[in-house]
Amino acid sequence: MSAEVTVDTTALQAPAKGRGSVLAGILRSPSGLIGLLLTGAVVTLGLLSVFNLLPFDPIAQRPEVRLQGPSGEHWFGTDQFGRDILSRTASGVANSLLISVVAVAFAAIIGTAGGLIAGFFRGWSDRSISGVTNVLFAFPPLLLALSLASAFDRTWFTIAVAIAIVYAPIFVRVARGPVLSLREADFVRSATVVGMRRFAIIWQHILPNIGAIVIVQITLSLSWAVLTEASLSFLGLGTPPPAASLGAMIFEARTLVNFAPWTMFAPGAVIILLVVGLNLLGDGLRDALDPRNRGTK
């Protein structure tokens, strides 16, 4: 996470048109297509766990089949307690996505609202919101998440809140910049002149114009949130056991990897695929939402 977020203001002029054109735009760019496929595959894996379609119980221990290599029954092998790694990985993906999606949703809503208010009203609200943002940016992201997670009782929700606090300032910066220039735009001024209420202006004129930037930021933040959640659980501060968590699986596999390398393969591969997918999807979205790429088919 960088303290200075560069904002591509060219996306400002992108009018929010039908969703179909955005999707078509993503599918047109190779990175967007690959990103969508990778993210979709990993999300599907997580959904299998949500809908109880897993071949094995991700938590139940079966010592008689411990540390078995990949086979027809256990595609990705079993761990030191005889748990099926594929089922555990799928359940870990579901937990990781639950935390990351809730965290980024909070961060995006609170951060964007903060950025809109700071940029539109300026004055003391801008000074206080930007001050809080600066303070949060003064902490290395993972360290802040770590400190917050250690300050509360650990549940999936407090971890999500900790990650949300870490990433909300990015949304403040991302939203505030363009709002500063939008508030001076003619259509906003005329809305003021005709007596439109200020919150109505923000809602109807400003928000739709920063939507594209925020959506791209949401995609990228999701990839960071997945990494942060996995790092926390690797360090023993994430989802409490015995619930499956990708970071904790890799932590346990660390000592087994010499003679049971499959224990690390599935959780490691899934994290990388998900993060790569979200990054490429973010790139694809940026291209698709960029008006400079409009009409060049």
């Binding site: 996470m1 960088s2 001050g131 770590l146």
Partner: protein, 322 residues
């Protein structure tokens, strides 16, 4: 005539000071959120046997009966005078612990930045040398890998593979500081620095690529070329020099990533740096250690950002003139 308060550097300093005050408040609030446990954490099971009078006496002893504002300023006063508290386990002051651990993390960070620049800048130059070509795709893919492979996964795998396949694991021996045994120290630092440097290379590569592409298309580069300057001279003296500002800024900004990543990497490779100090503090419920150390890290981060800001005023005279 500009007054001192309008001077950009003075303003930056004032802003940094305000931010630090906010950091102290936040750290204090986090400390209080867990501090309810401080008495239980120190006494363990015996805390349950405390009579209300005993608990009140302990609260008075720790100053917990004072209003929060008073507690904050007395804590801040202690911190400013260098009293960062004590570890109740090792009986060592947090200041001493930090004096040992901070230089180690700093060394790790510097080595990681060197590795990150050594991977990132050439990769960016390779990508920018022909945009949207095969070599650009190669550079971008390596960059994406750097962004997407988590440090803990890369570190764990690297350590396990080198230990089992090559029988090489310098980190299994006790940690040696650079002063004690420079050769062993550098070997112990190499893998963690590679892990962090690889992650750092990705944003450096992306920044270098776009900065180089932008500078390359500028008029003065064409002029230099038409005056007969060789390609190497044009690339290094004209293009790279002008692309340095964003690269330096990005590198400085990634210090936060390094300090956070240090927690993970120091844990994996058993490096007794400041990140490990935080983590051990959390595991042992030594909240005084955790909060003071977090404060020190945030302080160093703010100072590094300030220095980055001042540094690019030196590199780029245009920023100074503004």
């Amino acid at each position: 005539m500009r007054t001192i308060t309008r001077h950009p550097i003075a303003r930056k300093l004032a802003e940094a000071a305000l931010t630090l005050l906010g950091v102290a408040v936040l750290v204090f609030v986090m400390l209080r959120a867990t501090r309810g446990d401080q008495i239980s954490a120190t006494l363990g099971i015996e805390a349950a046997a405390l009579t209300p009078a005993q608990r009140a006496a302990l609260e008075a002893y720790y100053g917990l009966d004072q209003p929060l504002v008073v507690q904050f300023f007395s804590w801040l006063g202690n911190v400013v005078t260098g009293n960062l508290g004590y570890s109740s386990r090792s009986r060592q002051s947090v200041l001493e612990m930090t004096a040992d651990s901070l230089p180690i993390t700093f060394e790790l960070a510097v080595l990681s930045i060197i590795i990150g620049l050594l991977i990132g800048v050439p990769l960016g130059m390779l990508s920018a040398s022909r945009a949207n070509s095969l070599r650009d795709a190669f550079g971008q893919t390596v960059g994406l890998a750097g962004l997407s492979i988590p440090a803990f996964l890369l570190g764990s795998t690297m350590l396990a593979l080198s230990a089992s396949m090559l029988g090489y694991n310098p980190n299994a021996r006790g940690f040696a500081s650079f002063a004690e045994d420079p050769w062993l120290n550098l070997q112990q630092m190499l893998m963690p620095a590679l892990v962090l440097g690889f992650g750092l290379a990705a944003p450096i590569m992306r920044t270098a690529r776009s900065a180089l592409l932008e500078v390359r298309s500028m008029d003065f580069v064409r002029t230099a070329r038409s005056k007969g300057a060789g390609p190497v001279r044009v690339q290094l003296k004209h293009v790279l020099h002008n692309a340095l500002v964003p690269i330096v800024t990005m590198t400085g900004l990634q210090f936060g990533y390094l300090l956070g990543g240090a927690v993970v990497v120091e844990q994996i490779f058993s490096i007794p740096g400041i990140g490990r100090q935080v983590l051990i503090g959390i595991q042992q419920k030594e909240y005084a250690v955790v909060q003071s150390t977090v404060l020190v890290i945030a302080l160093s981060f703010v100072i590094i950002n300030l220095l980055t800001d001042l540094l690019y005023r030196v590199i780029d005279p245009r920023v100074r003139a503004q």
